[in-house]
Amino acid sequence: MIEDVEETGPTTVGPRRDNRWPGWVFGEGAEPDPRFSFANERTLLAGLRTSLALISGGVAINVVSVPIASWGQHVLTVELLALGGVFSLGSWVRWARAERAMRRGLPLPSFPFGAVLAVAIAICAVTVLGAL
């Protein structure tokens, strides 16, 4: 979208390390401020911990006896496990896109999966209410 961003983009800090993976992220642009990369990684790690919480909840709702209808248990289990699995990989994609944008000096990409996650959690709440 924006082509000539190198001059106003991130500053170069140290030599470029071409052996880093993935190449489509680290092979572009200039090295951003390390603090931004660290913050980006911490956001990813927080996303992964959120995925773990979703997966744990999905398993717990299935193996623990809870006072809701059995169909509700099954639906919630599927919802939470699917959400946890997809969100973990989605978090990594978000990290890669954000890192790439920082290297190229572009605005950070949007995170539409955040809205999906919010809606899905609301659906889980509705499912619990319906199964009570």
Partner: protein, 92 residues
């Protein structure tokens, strides 16, 4: 890397977050697999293999360099696999 305190502190926070996440993944793996294996029979090989993934992440990310690409993908795949395994084991 610069010698700025800001950068050093950000780096330390990130390293701690890496270890915290690896620990969380490992603990959840052990806890969930223990619950699930009791239901679906004995899957020791699968369990051991899955537990090894977060350990691999911890090893990859333990170095001083920013090896975020590979390490974080391993961890993301480990979490995704956990969801898949849990779903399969619950369905059995």
């Amino acid at each position: 890397m610069t010698a700025s305190p800001d950068t050093g502190l950000a780096r330390e926070r990130t390293l701690l977050a890496r270890r915290r996440t690896a620990l969380s993944v490992g603990l959840v793996y052990v806890a969930l697999l223990r619950v699930l294996l009791g239901r679906a029979g004995n899957w020791p090989a699968v369990g051991a293999g899955l537990v090894a993934l977060p350990l691999l992440y911890a090893a990859v990310s333990a170095g001083p360099r920013l090896r975020t690409g590979l390490g974080t993908l391993i961890l993301a795949l480990a979490v995704g696999l956990l969801a898949l395994t849990a779903g399969v084991l619950l369905a059995l």
